[in-house]
């Protein structure tokens, strides 16, 4: 039984489900408790011990059905249920004809002091620094003062350099409206600017992180320490900012009118965010599709060989020229089977489906970034769905690839959504997109 269980777990892992060794042990104990004879409790036992997220339940059910298929109607008791599975109809579980995979040996987890014990140790330490510590701190303070002067000099020098970086740049290219139709060649020329924008944003973020490493002067602590030492403070206490591990969900409209802006935006954003469980990408026209895996592979590995259907309007599909190492954004969109690029965009449905899906942004550590013009083609915008999402996450940042004077005009539902958006950025060109991504990085 243990061997069959081990193979089942391997099959779950192959489908992308994370199952820890401790959970496998729990599963073995659970199967021992309920017995493998009856399919219902057996399945419930494995489900309760091996799957710990809603998203994993579908995968589990699929693999379970494949692995522990019920015996065919009318088959004998000893007949094998399925290749690679075990018989669940009879009393005895049998292995498949294949050789059992050897049980893995799992490394023991390293023993770390528990937080409470660390706190205890902290409390037990004698209060007040020793004279040696004080001398060391004084020396560090002098050093940090010198470093501070050096840093100011460097910042001043950099400020002088920054304008020169864009000096040779044709300004019209960076400010070219992304909603205006462009040829593939024009798209390609714009795409050449993206790596430079990414580099600039990366540098800016690095500077910000270095600045925040030490934190701000902590006035209250300074007062406390001074009071304890008759008004003399030996150290300047700085309050370090809490490291936030922000999750990001990018919800991007890839319909015809916004696909070009979406392509550049996703290129910039995916260079700066490591896509995976923490940062997700959801693309939509009329309904959301999880594109995290595909976007993570964009430009790194050849995408699935699906080619986009022929453009119906007799002109190249937006995104043909936005290519990373040969993979164009248009072909990336074409490789997403569930994405209907010919559908009219429907924001209400997209928000509602996102709200009901396990991908929805939730928790105070999550930020939702929307890129789109909010043109809903007269469908119900369902603003309450965005309100609900906004209530469940830390903030909503919206990048609008349309000039401000057109917001809310015609079928645009932007004004009904804006009350639930924390920051809105006009991102009609590459400069605007970079500004929007900069705002996002500021929240990480």
């Amino acid at each position: 039984m243990i061997e069959a269980l081990s193979r089942f777990v391997e099959a779950l892992r192959a489908e992308g489900l994370q199952v820890s060794p401790a959970e496998v042990v729990d599963a073995a104990r659970a199967v021992d408790a309920v017995g493998p004879e009856r399919r219902g409790p057996f399945r419930a036992a494995l489900r309760a011990t091996l799957v710990k997220r809603t998203e994993g339940l579908t995968v589990f059910d699929r693999v379970f059905e494949r692995f522990f298929a019920p015996p065919a109607r009318g088959s004998g008791r000893g007949e094998r249920a399925a290749k690679g599975g075990v018989e669940t109809g009879g009393q005895r579980t049998t292995r498949s004809q294949e050789e059992p995979a050897p049980l893995r040996r799992w490394p023991a987890e390293p023993v770390r002091p528990r937080p409470a014990l660390r706190r205890e140790a902290e409390r037990a330490r004698p209060r007040g620094p020793s004279p040696e510590t004080l001398r060391e701190r004084l020396r560090r303070l002098q050093l940090s003062g010198e470093r501070l002067v050096g840093r100011v000099r460097r910042v001043v020098a950099r400020r002088e350099v920054v304008p020169e970086r864009h000096a040779g740049e044709p300004p019209d290219l960076l400010r070219r409206q992304l909603k205006v139709p462009a040829t593939t060649e024009e798209e390609r020329r714009l795409a050449e600017l993206v790596p430079r924008i990414v580099e600039e944003l990366r540098l800016r973020r690095g500077r910000r992180l270095r600045r925040s490493r030490r934190g701000r002067l902590w006035a209250r602590q300074l007062f406390r320490e001074s009071a304890g030492r008759e008004g003399v403070s030996f150290t300047l206490p700085f309050r370090r900012p809490r490291l936030r591990k922000t999750r990001v969900v990018l919800l991007v409209d890839v319909s015809w009118s916004t696909a070009r802006a979406a392509g550049y935006f996703l290129w910039i954003a995916t260079e700066l965010l490591e896509l995976g469980r923490r940062h997700r990408v959801v693309l939509f026209v009329d309904r959301p599709v999880d594109a995290t895996e595909t976007l993570a592979r964009w430009g790194r590995r050849a995408l699935a060989a699906a080619t986009p259907s022929a453009p119906p309007r007799g002109r190249p599909r937006p995104g043909e020229g936005i290519a990373r190492r040969g993979d164009s954004f248009a072909s990336l969109l074409g490789s997403l089977r569930d994405l209907n690029l010919e559908a009219p965009s429907d924001y209400g449905r997209a928000f509602h489906a996102l709200l009901r899906s396990p991908l929805r942004p939730r928790g105070r550590d999550t930020v939702l970034v929307v890129l789109g013009d909010a043109r809903t083609n007269r469908f119900d915008p369902l603003p309450w769905a965005l309100e609900e999402i906004s209530r469940q996450c830390r903030g909503v940042l919206w990048l609008v690839p349309e000039p401000r004077d057109r917001w809310g005009e015609g079928d645009s539902a932007l004004e009904t959504y804006l009350p639930y958006v924390d920051t809105v950025v006009e991102a009609t060109d590459l400069e605007g997109l970079a500004r929007g991504v900069g705002k996002l990085l500021g929240r990480l």
């Binding site: 729990d26 409790p41 419930a44 309760a48 710990k52 997220r53 409390r123 999750r247 999550t366």
Partner: protein
């Protein structure tokens, strides 16, 4: 094990026990509860609001004929509110009494050392169990029989509190600096619930058995409505459940939970309704739907939901 002996505990026995209290318990729920008992692991129940997660924990306590200790989580909940607090009022009163008695107390001391020892023994009393106010987690740990500890809506608490829970749930012991470590005499049966509004940490999930509690199937919900609202006619009960199930598939702000469906069924009995006519719905739909926009939307498109 309180109430039930180990050999009496089977998934079927749990189902029968829950049924007695009018709760339709599916095989998945009973197996998960049974395993949580056998493997001595906390059970994490996740699912939309109103599907009966908290009710499962309450009935679990009733099934075991033991107490339910409930910790309702919320943003900002910390160790002090979940674990223990010192009773400052009582300590102040004690200090006041001690001050008056100091001279009497020290009269018996022959030396300074003796006086200090006397004072020290009294000072230690300040941080003894007499002045400890146990909050739910400590109360469950020090209980003199195994209780059911319900940590409700754990997704509302902060990540720091979640990390703190890990320690308590893995060792069932609590360290109080002034007193020492208090170990559970009887392991509480822990049930955590989450409405899935925030992603819980993997570490916490790994320590628990997991059960996703979804809305019930048509048959199960009909059974619930029949048992909770026996005054409702058979055909109307079916229409009520079908109506509620169709609402859950619609784009509503708040889909009706089981408790709301039962309340609605009772409301229909109270008003003497024999069908789901527009006038009846207009009068009673507020029991089922808790949002004005949802009510208006459903009334506008009644034929879609009543079919």
């Amino acid at each position: 094990m309180s109430g039930k002996k180990a050999e009496e505990l089977t998934p079927e026995a749990i189902e029968a026990g829950f049924e007695k209290h009018g709760f339709v318990c599916t095989g998945e729920v009973s197996t998960a509860l049974y395993l949580s008992e056998r493997l001595e692991k906390p059970l994490l129940l996740e699912g939309p609001p109103g599907v009966g997660k908290t009710e499962i924990a309450k009935l679990w306590a009733q099934f075991h004929e033991t107490d339910l200790v409930r910790l309702q989580c919320y943003e900002g909940l910390d160790e002090a509110k979940a674990l223990y607090e010192w009773s400052y009022g009582k300590q102040m009163l004690y200090a006041q009494l001690l001050r008056e008695k100091t001279s009497e107390l020290l009269a018996g001391a022959s030396s300074l050392h003796g006086a200090m020892a006397l004072l020290k023994s009294e000072a230690d009393e300040f941080f003894s169990r007499d002045f400890l106010l146990p909050r739910p987690l400590l109360a469950a740990i020090v209980a003199d029989r195994p209780v059911v500890l319900l940590i409700d809506e754990v997704d509302r608490s902060d990540e720091e509190f979640e990390a703190f829970l890990l320690e308590v749930l893995s060792d069932y012991q609590v360290s109080i600096p002034e007193i020492g470590t208090i170990r559970a005499r009887h392991r509480p049966k822990v049930v955590l619930t989450s409405n899935d509004t925030r992603d819980l940490a993997d570490a916490l999930r790994r320590r628990c058995l997991y059960l996703y509690v979804d809305y019930p199937s048509f048959e199960d919900e009909l059974k619930i409505v029949r048992s909770r609202a026996p005054g409702l006619s058979e055909s109307l009960a079916e229409r009520v459940v079908r109506f509620a199930q169709s609402l859950r598939k619609a784009d509503l702000r708040k889909a009706p939970g089981i408790a709301e469906v039962v309340d609605w069924a009772l409301a229909l009995v109270a008003v003497g309704a024999d069908g789901l006519e527009r006038t009846v719905l207009r009068r009673t739909l507020g029991v089922l739907l808790k949002n004005r926009e949802d009510v208006e939307r459903v009334l506008q498109d009644l034929s879609r939901f009543r079919s």
